[in-house]
Each structure stands twice: as C-alpha cells, then as structure tokens.
Assembly symmetry: C2
Homo-oligomer: 874 residues x 2
C-alpha cells in the first residue's frame, strides 16, 4: 500500500503533532472526543517534504487523496464542492509542528465562484453577506496565493466608498460588492496574467501548494534558522468546512478561557459578538460582550460551551483557550490550546489543579514557567490605573518592578533625597560603579544608553530595583536640570514612573501594588523544595539584600562582592587614599581605616544569615574604578590628601588600561598588594569571631579568591589568608572554622582545576567572566555587534543571560569532573547572572553542582527551576 | 651496610650529578681521567636531606665518613690536617645539581690556625703569604659560616691601612696581618659569642653544616620556587686540597677555553697571571697575560695544559672552559665545563666538531641554542668600535639588530626622511598602529614606555627592525623637538644608535656589520632541514617581508595580516571613509576604491612566493584603530569627506570600546559588514587568477577567518567567501583552487573544534589571543602587574613569549585532537609570537602541528628548533 498523506480529522489525534502539525492534531483530537468541530482533513507534513523534493510539484497521488477527502466532507455535510444549490465552502490554514510566523496563514470561503455564490445566497437568505464573502475570498486568494499587494485591493474599496459617499465597508450594497468582485478579478488578471480560477478544486489545490511553498519563504527560513527548526519538518495544511458566525442574529463568534487567565479563578472568561466573524472581534469596531452575557442571551448554547470547556480542561489537564462559532443556532469549536496566563494565574491554576485531583504536584511544578515568576517578585502598577494612561516612551525592560518618584540626575541628589525619605527615579545617560549608592536609595533607574547587560541593568537586577535602560527617546541636560523623554520636558523634581518589566515610562506618579509571596506562591515554593536537589543561595552584600534573600528562601550567600562596600561616600575617599598611596606605610594606614567598616559590614551580614553559609569574595575590580573622574573631584581629593592634583592625575593615567576586564584585577591585586587581602581576611575573621558568641549556629565564613589562573598565584594568595587568619585567632585566643575557595572564571583555571581543587575547599563558577573569556566578548561592548548576530539568526539567545552549554558549559563540566576526581564531594557553586536563569539552573543541576547563587529577587525562580530539573531527570 | 654519604673524587664520575652535584661530579670525572686535580671528596646531596630531616643535625655516621675521607687526603698528600709542620689545607664549596645563586659559596684555606700557619710559612717560605692566607680564612669563615657582615672586617683593614698610611692591601706587612687576625677573631667573638674555632676538624664540620643550612636560605628558596627546583634535591659539599697560585714566581693561575669562544677558531683562548690567586684575576688590579704567552714563559706547562684541554674536549665532545692553578711549577686543573660562546662560535664549533668526527650531525644540532641564532640574523655594531664607547642609557632589548640614524619624533617625519633615503630612529613615548608606516622606514625604534610585548616590540620584531623599548631614562618634548636620554639632550635630527639585542643606546652614529647567513650558518640550516618534520612559514604582508622570509628558508606565508596594508598614507583615508560611511552604498564605494590596492598587494606577494602557500587573514582589528585621534586630523578628514567634524566625532565616540580586545573585531566585522569580507575575497581571488598565468607553480591562496567562536558565525562568513569566489571565477571564466580556514584563538573555538574542522580546510592557532583569553590577560596591560609575578616567583616565563603548555598548550592539544578526529590529515599551524620560540616550536612539533609560522627573522630559529625537536623525539 502506498503511503498515506491526507488524514480526515477523525483519523488523527493529539499525539500526531509531527505528522499533522499542532493545529491539525488538536482538531483531530477534539473530533475524536466527539466535540462539534466542523469536518475537515489535514494534508500531512510529509506531503510538504514530497512537494519540495518533487521540484515543487504535488504528485497526482496526493491530489487524488485530497479529492477523496473532499468527497468525504461532501458526504458528511450533504453539500457539494462547487454545487450551485448547496455549495461546500472550505477554509485552508497552514499548521507546522510549532507555530511559525512568516508562513502563509488563512484563506476563507474557498469554493465560491459566480455560480456557487447563488447557492450561498439561498442558504443564508442574505445577498449582501454572500457577495461580501465572495469579495473577501477573491482578495485573500489573490493576496495569499499569488502575493498580490493588499493595497491594490484596498485602494479599490476606498475609491468605491468615495464615489458612493460612504465611510464604512458595511455601508456598501450588494451591487457595490458585485462591482468590486469584478474589479478584483481584473486586478488579479493584470497581476498574474491569468483568469481568476473559478473551479473550486483548482482553488483548493493551488491553496495547498501555496501553503507548502510558503515553508520556504525567506522570512520562514530566517525564523527556522533562528530557532533551530530543521527545514525537513515541513508544514501541514488544514482544510475545514466553513461555518459562519456572521449569518444573521442566531449566529456569532467568540473566544474564551476555561479559567480567568489574569487571576486563575475557576470561571469562564472571554468575549463574543453575535452576527460577526473572528475578524470583526479583532477589528474592534463593535464592542464584544462578556461571555457571561451569553448565559442570559442563549442559556442552552452557554451551557453547551461550558460543558465543552470543562471537558477539554479535564482532557488536557490544563486551562484552555478556545475559539467558537455559532452558525444559525449551532455551536462549533474551532480551536483549543493551553491558555497563556499571568504569573498569578499560573500559580493559582497549578495549585487548584492539584487540589482538584487533576494533576500531581510533580506535574503542577512542571507546568510552570519559572522565568514568569519574576513578575511576581516586584511591586507592579495597578492594572486598572494603567488602562487610562499611555506611556510617553519605552526603553529596554532591564530590571522588573514598578517605580514612581521625583527625577534626580545624579547619585548625590538621590542620596540627599533618600535621607529625606523622598522617592526618586535616577535618570542618567548611563551608570557607573560610582552611582551605586544612588541606585541603592532610588526607587528606579532610567538610562539613555546601554543594553540588558549594561552596568545599570545588572546592578539594578541584583538590587531588585526597577530599571528601564537604553531609552533612545531620552536626552538629559544635567546642568540645566532638565530631561526630555519622548518629546516631553521634565525638570529635576518632576514625577515620572517606570515599569521595569515592560520598559514603559509614564509622565506622572502612579500607585504600585506590592509583591505578594504568600498563598499559592508559598505553596508552590514549598512543593519545589520537596523535589529540588541543587542548593539555592543569593548574591548579596548589604543587610537589605540579605534580608530579601532569606525572605525568598535563599539557603546562604553564594557571593558577597566586597567592592560594593567601598562606594559609600564615607568610604570611597579612604579607598582612594589607599589606591593613591605612594608607600606601603601610607597604604597600610588607609587599609586600617577601612578595616572597621568592612568588619562591621560582615558582622551585620553574618547576623542576618544566622549561621547559613556566607561566601565573601576578595576585592575584584580594577582599582581605577574607584578613582575620581572629574577635575573637581580630583581637586577635592588632592586637598584632602595633601597632594598635588597633578600627582593624582599621574596615578590615574598610570592605572589606565586598554582592556581593564583583562587587566589588573581579582587576585592579581592581592599579588601586588598583599596587604589588601590581609585587611579583608582580618575583617572577615574578626567579624565572624565577634558575632559567633551571639549566634545559636556559628558562622563558618567562606573566603573566595577571584580570577585565579595559576596554581602558584592561588597558593600565594591563600597563604596571605591563612597567615592572617592564624594571626587574628592567636590575638583573640579563639579558634574559628573557615574555608577558602576560588572563583573559576578563567579558561586556564578550568584547565588546571584538578590542581586547584587540591588546594581549596570549594569552587564557584563565575560564569559572567567565563563567558567573556570563552567567547572573547566584552560584556560592556558586545551588545553593539551582537544585535547583528540575533538579526541574522547566528545567535538565538544572549550568552550572558543564558549559559552557553556547548562552550562555557563544557568548561564548567570539565572543571567539575576534574575537581570531583580529586575530591569526591567537592563543593561547587555558580554565581553570576546565569545562577537565576531556569535553563542555566537546569544545566548546573545536571552537571551536579552543589548550589546556584543569584540575585535575591531571582531566588524563587532558581528554587522552582531546580525542582523542575530534578523532576525532569526522574 | 649503611648508606654511603661521602665520596672521594676517585670514587665518582660525571654521571653522578644527582648525588654529587654538578661541580663534584665533574671533579670526580677529571680525577678518574687521571688529570691533575687536587685530591678531595664530596659530601653527597643525600647527606643534605638527612641533615634537614634530622632537625639540622649532622649524624655522627656522616661525620665519621668525613673524617675517614680526610685521612685519605692526608695519606695521598702526605700532609696532616692540623699538622703543625706540614698542614693539609682545604677548600669547601657548595655544589647543587644545577648552579644556584643565593647559596653559600666558598671557604678557602680551611685548616689554618695559630699553629698550622707556621707550617705554611715553612712550606711557602713566605711569612706574609701565610698570614694573609690565615687572615682571609678567618674573614671568610666568619662571614660565610656565621653570617658576620663583611664590612665589619673590611672596616678594620681600612683602619689599619689609614694608621700605616698605605693604600693597597699588599702594602701591609706580616705584622700588620698578624694584628688583623687577632682583631678579626675578636670581632668573631663579639658577634657570635664564642671563640674562633682553632680545631681544623671543627672548622670543617661547621663549614659543611653551613653549606647545608644555606640550602634553606630565603634567597635560595625563592630561586628554587622560581625555577621549579624541588627542595628535596639538596646540595652537595666539595672538600678539596688547597693549591696556591700565589706562592711565588713559579706559581700562577688562569682560565682558558679550548677554542675561541667569540669566533669558534680552534685555538687556546684565555688569560693567566703568575703569583696570583683567582680573586686577583677578577679584581683587575694586575693585567693578565694572554694564554699564548705561557708557551714562551713555560713551554712545558703550556703543552701540558694544551694536551689536557684537548683531552677534555674529546672527552666531553665540546669546547671546554677550564680553570687551572700552577703551584710551585706543578699544574692543577680546578674546574672544567662546556664553555659559553657567541652564536657565531657556536655554529663554527658545531660544524667543526662534525668535520673532525667528534660529533654526529644529530649531536651537533642538539648542541646549539636555537634562540641564540637571533643575534646572527640582524646587523650588529662593530665589536671593536663598541669597546671605546659607553651607552648613555639602556632600555629593554625588544627587537635585536643595530641601528644608527637621525632622531625623528613621529611617523610622518620618518616617512618624509625615508623618501630622502635618510636613516632615522623613531623616538616615541609608545607606538600605535598608526605608526607602522614610520616604523617600516625607520632603521630603529626607541620608546619610553611598554615592555617586551608592547606594540613597538611586537611589530618591530615582526619587521626585523631594531627596537629598544621601555627606556625609563627617556623623556620627549615633541613640540619643542627635543628629547632627553640618560641626561643628555638631543634635538630632532641629531644622531643616536640603538642596539636591540642589548638594549643599549649610544649618543652618536655607529657603524654596523651586516648579518652573514652563509658558511656554517647555511650548513647548520641544511642539516636541520634534513631532520625537521614540522613545516616553517613566515608571518609577512609586505614584499620586503616575503623576500626576507624566503631568504631565511620559509616554506610559505602562514599569516598575512591584511590590516597592515591599510595604514599607508594613500589608503588610510579611504579606509576611514569606509568606516565612517553612513549607508551601505557609501561603504561599498569606499571598498571599491580599496580593492585595487589590496589586489595589487596580493599579486606582489604571490609573485615573490612563487606558488608556495600563502595564508591571508581577513581584516582583524577593531575599526577604531584606523580612525584619526587629533582635532586636526578629524577636521582634515571631515573636509575631505564633505561631512561635519561633529559627525565624525560622533562615530568615533560610537566606536569607542571598554575592552577593544574583546570587542568588535575579527570575523565579527564581516558579520556586521559582509561587504568587507567580500571585497577582501575578491581582491585575493582576482590577484591569484591574475598572477597564476605568470607562475610556473600556481598559487593556491588560503583564506583565513579570524576570531571564530561559533559554528553559525563561521558558516555565515564562509558563505560570503565562497559566494564571492564563485562570482569572480564566473566573471573571469576561470577556475581557481583556494582553501578556507580559521584562526583558533578563542577558547570557545577549541571547544567546538570538531564542528569547525568539518567546515574548513585548516586551522591556525592564534596563540597570542588564545593566551590572552585563557589567562584573561590583556597583552597591552599585563606587563604592569606581571612584573610582580616574576619578582615573587609565581611566573618564571612570559606566557606571551613562550607557550604556556599547561594551559594554552592543553587547548591547542584539545583542538588538534578534535580536528584530526574529524579529518585525519587536517592541516594545523600556529602563528603569532610563539611560532618563533624554540620551546614553543618543540611543543607544537610534539602535538603534531603541520607547521609553525613566525616573523621572517625568526624562521632560522624555528627551523633549528624543529630539527632539535624531531631529534629529541627519536
């Protein structure tokens, strides 16, 4: 028997997605379930491959199969394809395995011609309806099958409306429409040099061919390349009997969800219009009614639909998003799929489905999109209020959360306002480490430059502060104290609001609703923790961060960046003194002044964490990041230090680096200035000893050496730590357990991971830097050229946001294997942006890392992603 | 039987270096050969380990062995240790497996005390000599064994000379010396709180202990850490009977080489002094005589020494560097070792030893230090003239060769002078890519900043231009047209000379002697090629480079950096036009103007190379390197392009990068501007087709894509190349064979090397960038902190000069294995600085790379290193 290429809906089911495409498989499934789906058939994806292999010809055998399926439809419906009295009309839609833009979409009313239109008039008793359907068909066919510009047709409609002196399409009469049909056929003839096909079967075969042809559209090819979809998959074609929602008062059409997609409440949610087609609902000329009205208008249909919705929900075990049409009092279901929902709804539905016994906890956890949780963890604007206000400009949604406040233009203004408990939005061209204090007190940050991984974006995400970055419609004149956003001018102190989840900017103050992490959220988190193996820690250095981290369920701190503690106004100048020291003596003096600050910070951190592990990284950034930039600042500092401004300028020039990311930073600082590492170690050990007496569970600090690339370098710095720790313990007359680990963030560290593992107690993968070095991408610069990589489909994700498993991930795996080969239960973590990305967490779990560490605000995401990973591995 | 720790010289031989140390093993070997070596014994390195394991105590058993060895010496010499009438006197010297500074050196005249000194007077008939020997012994012992400051003793000598009103030590009388001895003993007592030991055996045991103790000196420990010498090796101690060259007119001492170490001529070469000790020769108070004088003064001794020299040379099969002493008319040999020699001498000796049948060709090749060849490949100053002139300052010896010329301060001046055929030295703070034209015409380059791998150094080495870099004694005031070098002020146009091999700078014009690569050099190269497996190519882009490369025996061009072709005055502005284009149209126009230049360059290159392989790399550096820096240049360019200066400034600001090394460069340029790669491919293919008709062996151009990190990125760029190549061939109606390869210079490229190998014809390891990314070191910045790494013994070589086998090398190996796994005979090369470093060449040969490619001037080094590697692997 030869291969089968055409499947009636009743011959398929939901598992045949590869062969029938997504849409076709679901239509078949509903047909088999006995739901009122208009009869139809699917030409399979394999037919598409045959078409392309066969030099873009449809073999006769497939044409024969199609004809056979059509006659089956004729039998089922009692109508005839091309029958003048009772014509069978069809819709043709493409349908690949996955939804794919760029391909041919839909042709409706196929089968109409000058003869069959009469039959439609007879059946519908509505001449205008029938001619409008015919007019639409000619237009759609010409545009979709023959690529005739839509405007060519629309232009003719405008002309006739002008001639008749009417404004709306609906004001055109049957005669106007008949005239239009003839003119449309003429346009068709002019464009493609042949008559418009009146033979229904010719119309159908040409349409099927057109769908297959569209699989090789440039746009479709680009999309496939971008999403790694093999061209061998092909698309299917769905041919279905037309039903009309616009055939009078007893007809109608609508869309509805089986539960509320905004809140998750168990209630039908949707809208419908009587005497209308899907297009009309979308066009928005008439206002649709809420689905609950249907119960009043037609209780029988409503109940029928309600039952179907519940049946589908039970069948698919998930909230459904359905399209329906009522033709002359009879209900048809045209589509169903798992419905999109807000994060709140997703949690409620998942919990409810478990409570209703429809799903297990494991399944419920796997239903959720971990990334979506992000929206729940930050305050949001009031949805109702937003309906009545338009954004004045949009930037990149760099860090979620909503924020309203007065405009300030620099960190100092922000800090001053913060002391007065005023809410502010920090508006800058771009931010730098010097702005951290200001970002910390600001409600939100708005920048004109920089992408999703710019300084502002990364730091704001870490802090959980709302941030809209790279808004090209923003210009700032700090001296005049004004900025222009989307053409509106604002003065210092004026109110604006930003939404870091959408990137929208609003020109006034808006109210925010705080994040709620109790209820369903808490339930899901609790379930997640039952299945999760990989630990979840937070990156935190302030008391505030640490408190948020614990609230969100972090099991410790995986990365505390000590450099962030030096930007405080009081400390930055001591830090600068230290950097500008010309003798060891001077440097030690400055470090001694920093010591109590650091010790105090660590004490507070340890107290909040109450014995949970805390990993503290030694100073990492190049020293020039701490130095003043402007003449003014330099002069002030010079006065303070009793040095000449030129002297300070000379040091700044000396510290200049061509590629600071690969420069004098990380443990290299401790090699050149061992006294820095010694001071930091002293601060850590003293702090731990001081608080331990007050804690029920003692803190065991984990000291982490950054940017290690060589074993002797590591030993050198470790010796500084161990010697200092011993010294402090002798002074205090007390013993303290502590551990020493390294960041693995240079490829060379991976290559000698076995040697390093012998010397230390743990690794933490610094995948930000590791990504930079592995790809040779500077995170600060790559945005400029990576946009071409996305546009051309070379990259389909940002390797700084999602771990590159093939490259960087391979290195993580290599180092993990090397280390565990040396020490079986070696502790391994990951910190950096990837630690809170679900795909990356799954990778880290798969490799067997001990924990992941991420921004406090992403801890719940990591907890859920960790659970999902564990469940998928089962 | 218990273990033996003390070996008489006659019990050892040269193979026992591990046990007896280098010096002890050679003394034993000569003893066994029957040469007149003063009798002695060695306390083994194992005794050193026992001493340290035994809590710094010398076990009695070892002391007993020493005593037994001493009595053997007594028997051999007929003298007695501590014998008042005929005292046996000894020297004690340390001697590890490898020569190691920081350890205890030498004690002479051991065994003297107030009694035995009388015996020495009787034997020498010279009271002054005896007391002076005694005085020296007390001083050495106090200083070396008990660490008493030398100055304490010297100060006393100065006092006594002042008191006596004499200037030279030799003017002191026996009585003066006797007085000094007593005072020295008093100093000793004051310092160590015990009497100076008069018992000879106590003196000896304490000295042996002191040598062992010195193995753990901080300086020795640092040295070991720096050179990876295990502390378990330990040092040996050599105890030897004293012979005196200062015991009257029939005594003397000298050093001599068995052949001329400067020229390699087969003649004794050295100097001697009668009635003198080794110290006197070194002190330079008396002028020694040439060794040939000895033949006249004492033919018997001369002949005896000559025979010994020849015997040793035959025995060690190499030119020997020997120390001898004549005591009272009897010749003693105190040391022999393979002599250091100039590069010229090394070649001549190697060739002569083969011709004399003493060595095989293989052995001769392995005797040579490939690195040393560098000195032969560049012009050098006349050795005679240098003797009478002192350098005014010294910088880093950044690129060998000698150069004299007039001072110019920028590239333009250099180019103008070049057109007038004037010789110039380009003196700059530091150089940048814009200076390349000027560097190319200058005789030499002198910079104030930057290290051995600075831009100036790397480019100059590539060009074979002499360069002294990072001269801290140089300051420049370009506006005034003056510079100050080592305190001397020079005006623009004044003559200076620089020696890039030594780093010396001279304040006047000096004559140079050109490199001679015929004769022995040619013979050695010919032999090397007989054994070498790995291919040797050159990095070259100019005709000049290519000619030098072929002269030095390069088998092709492994790297032609096309960007170097754009800095020419005529082209740089077109290049800038291209970069500043605001439309694709504009950019294509500019590229069309560049096309004939590129094509012309390639044609010339192909013609010189006559069918040898030529690898051309597509544009690599970030575009901002080509842009103007100064206001003036920007204005000029703006006028020329009909744009506003602000517009150009805006583009320059846009192109600014924080870390350009990891920025928009390499194949990333072709992804954003495919038209650049297309133009370059067109130039290459057109050039090859144009010249092929004129060549007997057709050129098969190798097009190389730089900085590949992703397979889709590679495919994208390769498609540009293949499409363009096809286009050109169709236009020309001709076929041309060409190949496409990639640089492997990012860690990620290594990780996906198997995928890449499937797509391309060859790899070339860009180990410069690979080193940068693997270590996270910016080559332009690392010098600043790496100096601490060398100082602290963390690094013992520059990973940019010598391939880091453990890290970067591992990546090279990984990629090689992956690629060869996919394609068995895959072509693999290395280009970059490492390609001309002997150790790195050996590594590449070991890994199985097809070829190495280096600066034309290092091709002979690579040829020899390749041969040595092949021979060592046999």
């Amino acid at each position: 028997m030869s291969k089968k290429f055409v499947y009636l809906f009743r011959e398929g089911n939901a598992t045949m997605r590869e062969l029938l495409g997504g849409k076709g498989a679901n239509l078949a499934e509903m047909t088999v379930l006995g739901l009122p789906v208009p009869a139809g058939f699917t030409v399979s994806t394999e037919a598409c491959s045959v078409y392309h292999e066969n030099n873009r010809q449809l073999p006769d055998s497939i044409i024969r199969e199609i004809k056979k399926a059509v006659s089956d439809l004729e039998k089922q419906s009692g109508k005839g394809f091309g029958d003048v009295n009772n014509p069978l009309l069809l819709s043709v839609r493409s349908g690949a395995r996955v939804s794919m833009p760029g391909m041919m979409d839909t042709i409706l009313n196929l089968g109409l011609n000058d003869d069959t239109v009469v039959g439609l008039i007879n059946r519908s008793k509505d001449e205008r309806f029938a001619y409008d359907s015919y007019r639409r068909f000619v237009q759609m066919y010409g545009n979709v099958v023959k690529q005739i510009d839509k405007d060519k047709f629309e232009h003719r409609i405008d002309e006739i409306k002008a001639k008749k002196g009417v404004k709306l399409d609906s004001e055109l009469t049957s005669d106007d429409l008949k005239e239009l049909i003839e003119e449309f056929k003429q346009i068709y003839k002019n464009e493609v040099n042949e008559e418009f096909p009146s033979e229904p079967m010719e119309q159908l075969i040409e349409s099927v061919r057109a769908v297959f042809r569209s699989w090789e559209n440039p746009r479709a090819i680009t999309y496939r390349r971008m999403h790694d979809i093999p061209s061998s998959w092909g698309t299917a074609v769905n041919v279905q009997t037309m039903v009309f929602g616009n055939m009078g008062a007893t007809s109608g059409t609508g869309v509805a969800f089986s539960r509320n997609p905004a809140t998750g409440e168990d209630e039908l949610y949707g809208e419908y219009l009587m005497n209308a087609q899907g297009e009309d609902v979308v066009a928005g000329v008439r206002t649709p009614s809420h689905i609950s009205e249907l119960k009043i208008q037609n209780e029988k249909i409503f109940n029928e639909f309600y039952d179907i919705a519940k049946k589908l929900e039970k069948h698919y075990k998930d909230m459904q998003d359905m399209e329906f049409t009522i033709e002359d009092g009879k209900l048809y279901i045209l589509q169903t799929r798992n419905g999109k929902r807000t994060a709140t709804a997703a949690l409620k539905i998942a919990v409810d489905l478990v409570n209703e016994g429809m799903r297990t906890k494991e399944e419920a956890l796997l239903m959720l999109d971990a990334k979506q949780l992000d929206n729940l963890l930050h305050p949001t604007f009031d949805v109702e209020e937003l309906k009545s206000i338009k954004p004045i400009a949009t930037g990149l949604p760099a860090s979620p959360g909503s924020a309203s406040g007065k405009i300030v233009f620099n960190a100092d203004e922000a800090v001053r306002a913060g002391k007065l408990k005023e809410k502010v939005i920090l508006v800058r061209l771009e931010t730098s480490p010097e702005d951290i204090e200001g970002m910390n007190v600001a409600q939100g940050v708005l920048t004109a430059r920089g992408g999703m991984t710019s300084h502002a974006a990364v730091v704001a995400r870490g802090m959980g502060t709302a941030c809209v970055a790279g808004c090209s419609d923003l210009s700032i004149d700090e001296n005049k104290g004004v900025c222009v956003i989307g053409g509106h001018t604002f003065k210092r102190g004026d109110y604006i609001s930003i939404d870091g989840a959408s990137g929208n900017i609003y020109g006034k103050e808006l109210k925010s609703v705080p994040a709620d992490i109790s209820g369903d959220f808490a339930t899901i988190m609790q379930w997640a923790d039952e299945y999760r193996r990989i630990g979840v820690r937070a990156n935190a250095e302030t008391v505030n961060d640490a408190i948020v981290a614990r609230k969100f369920g972090a099991q410790g701190i995986g990365l505390s960046r000590t450099e962030h503690m030096f930007f405080d106004a009081e400390r930055i100048n001591i830090m600068r003194e230290m950097i500008l020291s010309s003798t060891l003596e001077e440097r030690k003096n400055a470090l001694n002044k920093l010591l109590p600050f650091q010790r105090g910070d660590f004490e507070k951190l340890f107290e909040v964490m109450e014995g949970l592990p805390v990993t503290i990284r030694l100073l990492d950034p190049p020293l020039h990041e701490f130095l003043p930039q402007t003449k003014e600042e330099i002069n002030t500092l010079a006065k303070q230090m009793g040095k000449k401004p030129q002297e300070i300028e000379r040091v700044i020039a000396e510290l200049y680096e061509f590629n600071p990311m690969m420069g004098h930073r990380g443990c290299r600082l401790d090699v050149t200035y061992p006294e820095i590492g010694a001071m930091q170690t002293r601060a850590i050990i003293e702090a731990a000893i001081n608080v331990n007496s007050r804690l029920s569970k003692p803190v065991i600090p984990e000291i982490m050496i950054p940017l290690v690339g060589d074993i002797k370098e590591l030993k050198y710095v470790k010796e500084i730590i161990d010697t200092t720790a011993k010294e402090v313990m002798q002074e205090k007359g007390l013993c303290l357990e502590y551990s020493v680990g390294t960041m693995i963030e240079l490829p060379r560290a991976v290559l000698i991971a076995d040697e390093i593992a012998k010397e230390v107690d743990f690794f933490s993968f610094g995948t930000n830097d590791l990504t930079q070095m592995t790809y040779g991408f500077s995170r600060d610069d790559a945005g400029k050229f990576l946009k071409y990589y996305y546009d051309k489909g070379i990259f389909d994700f940002d390797p700084f946001a999602r771990l590159d498993e093939k490259g960087v991930g391979k290195l993580v795996k290599m180092a993990t294997d090397s280390a565990r080969n040396v020490k079986k239960d070696f502790k391994l973590g990951v910190c950096g942006e990837h630690g809170g990305d679900p795909k990356s967490v799954e990778f880290c779990d798969g490799v067997g890392l001990t924990y992941t560490s991420c921004s406090p605000y992403r801890v719940p995401i990591a907890r859920l992603a960790g659970a999902q990973s564990a469940l998928r591995k089962k």
